[in-house]
Symmetry: C2
Subunit: 420 residues, 2 copies
């Protein structure tokens, strides 16, 4: 049964559930192995730079936590999370003008588990849900397991096009879509932020059309410039809010949370029992101690300073190297830039050439539902993980790969065989 | 939005997926809060006794691990788990005569996540699956989210009644059931073990009827007496095997694993990406160090010695206090005894009286599918967590609750209003 390099026949090929057909693997996860090779410059993963973390202090804190918590940290825990971590999250949320009590929370294995639990709670096969398009590819993975009909709404530099959303809601009618999923602040994959005006209108529409809003907010503390915009949850208590420590502490603790109305929380608790019984109390203890005993704001400031340098390096390199036909976003925070190339270029095909040249990125089609043909000429590039000079080099290499293809297509265009 | 004690109206009551209706909360999880009250003696949870763990050594190990692993332990990890923990699991499996390589494994958030991933991979609504009846209530929770038609096969002191399974398979025909789920060794909730003869016959039937076997094996290292019986996976490589460190180290690390053929593993990897991106690398690091650097076998021996005392105390107290109408299993290992009372007693109703008298247990109906009316007169009682004298006291109190009811029913029987 060892991996031999030979193709292994699947005895159970007819046994899979129909949902498996509608799922696909994440290019990001598949690139994970490649990204860890030292000769590769990774613009693919949304891995935060946690090299700023003070490991010696964390080690001391972990040792202290294990002794002081005793066996409680190593036993099964409450399915919804420890009361202590819920108190820490309530404090974190207060900074964002979200005022909740511990009873409003379910602690999850990162926000990714929250997406899976919400998909399981609300989506029957064929149900309509609405997302930004492009959107977070992990959300598409989580939701697609429940076979929804995903309608996507495009964004511009002010976030989701609420005018297009309204048109879609008019077509659907009230109470038809199960929910709208949005990353309104420094969204993934575009890095753009929904304006306050559009947020207000979105909330009006959510009442008018009985539309549940799920706000995924991993990046709002990674603002580099511009004025903060209030979270949707701070504007309306009906909004379901997802948070995580992945981008403000460390993803390896797998700690996120859901704020939701009480009746929904009861259902999510029941679903989470079947999914994992409980999260890891010891991870939760580490998170509690980190946010109460350590200078987490100082450490986050250090990370943010690095991201600013890298974002600036990426935008400057795009200006310097990328062809005039390319367009890209100019994020004021977060981790990502979304680049759109001429439509005759297929970024999924470019990726293998880019890999040969030592660069990875996320092809844009992964950020749309599987049955869509959109995003093929776009790419998500992350500036969070590599040093500025490496980012510049990666963009330079990418530009060469693109230029090579462009030369070919320009020849076709000049010969009249393609429209410019 | 704070919990006020008032009933909160559910704005989204019509929005839930149909699967939510077929799910129910676990009495065990709901009893969790009660069990932590000091005046309650808990016979409900399958919580291993981890008070034997050397916390000071673990604290030292955690600190060392954080420094030596560096940021790798705190970053996103490989979806299927670190290569190092897979090596540790391969070594653990060799003890059980299961010979695999790291590529055969997916590391999961406890075996509970494994059950959820397998349900998602294989169950369409209405699909037939087969389990023991009664069976592990967490498996029922995980699978029921995918709306299967669950057929249960009863067990006796030699484990699942394979003759009854054969009858069920004859009725269904080959390739109809998606899988058979079994806890063959010290099963949950009965503590009984499938005999070698029945295992051989089960594997024959699995080939004859194209039946996938999922073997859940959390307890096989908790043998107190009798001869070990080989695992199903050691007898046939087609068997999907689930393991966990919860009962041989600590549940709080949330670390389990799936051994499966390569093509299934690919699907499970894809499904796990959507469910949680990755497990916690730092939890995996702790597990790696525990099983390579510490005297885990010595610690497990200490725990096993405690369980033996407690099982003996429980069986002796049942003999001493329980009425002649009651029957129970006599486990050679594991954590549980399954008690069956006269069928006119409803253990779910007894539970509230038992709670008033300071004892919790798991009512038997939770160990059957939700649409079944079986198990109502049975209960699962766990001997793993309390000291012998407390177990004796709990059984004594339970016997009084039961005797009170029995007196009532005996009066009815004597009056000819009920059959004995």
């Amino acid at each position: 049964m060892a991996e031999t390099g030979l193709i292994q026949f699947d005895d159970w090929v007819d046994f899979y559930a129909s949902r498996v057909e509608s799922m696909r693997t994440s290019a990001v996860r598949d690139l994970f192995a490649a990204a860890s090779r030292p000769d590769i410059i990774s613009l693919s993963g949304g891995m935060p730079d946690i090299r700023v973390l003070p490991l010696d202090q964390l080690a001391e804190l972990a040792a202290k936590a294990i002794v002081s918590e005793g066996v409680a940290g190593l036993q099964y825990g409450d399915t919804t999370g420890r009361i202590q971590i819920k108190e820490v999250v309530c404090n974190l949320m207060r900074d964002l003008d979200i005022h909740i009590s511990t009873g409003d929370l379910i602690i999850t294995a990162g926000a990714q588990q929250a997406l899976d639990l919400l998909g399981k709670a609300f989506i029957d096969p064929g149900d309509v849900i609405i997302t930004e398009g492009p959107t977070y590819l992990g959300a598409l993975q989580a939701f697609s397991a429940y076979q929804p009909d995903i309608r996507t709404i495009e964004f511009d530099s002010d976030g989701m096009r609420i005018d297009l959303l309204e048109e879609e809601l008019e077509r659907l009618g009230p109470g038809v879509a199960k929910f709208l999923y949005t990353v309104p602040t420094f969204n993934n994959p575009g890095g753009v932020t929904m304006s306050l005006e559009r947020r207000r209108r979105l909330i009006e529409l959510s009442h008018q059309y009985e539309l549940m809003i799920i706000e995924d907010d991993p990046y709002s503390r990674l603002r580099f410039d511009g004025e903060p915009v209030p979270s949707l949850r701070s504007m309306d208590e009906r909004v379901i809010y997802l948070g995580t420590v992945s981008k403000i502490f460390a993803p390896g603790l797998r700690t996120g949370w859901i704020i939701s109305p009480l009746p929904i929380r009861g259902k999510l608790n029941m679903i989470k029992q079947g999914a994992d019984l409980s999260g890891s109390p010891i991870c939760q203890v580490l998170v509690e101690h980190y946010f109460t005993e350590m200078d987490w704001r100082g450490t986050l400031d250090k990370a943010r300073a690095k991201y600013i340098e890298r974002r600036d390096a990426m935008l400057a390199a795009l200006e310097e190297f990328f062809p005039p036909e390319a367009q890209w976003t100019h994020p004021q925070g977060g981790l990502f830039v979304w680049v759109t190339l001429p439509e005759y270029l297929d970024t999924a095909k470019l990726l293998s050439v880019a890999l040969e040249n030592g660069v990875t990125f996320v092809p844009g089609d992964g950020c749309y539902p599987a049955d869509s043909d959109r995003g093929r000429s776009s790419m998500r590039i992350a500036f969070c993980y590599e040093e500025p000079e490496k980012i510049r080099e990666a963009i330079r290499r990418l530009s060469l790969v693109i230029a090579d293809r462009l030369d070919l297509y320009r020849a076709f265009i000049n010969a009249g065989a393609l429209k410019p």
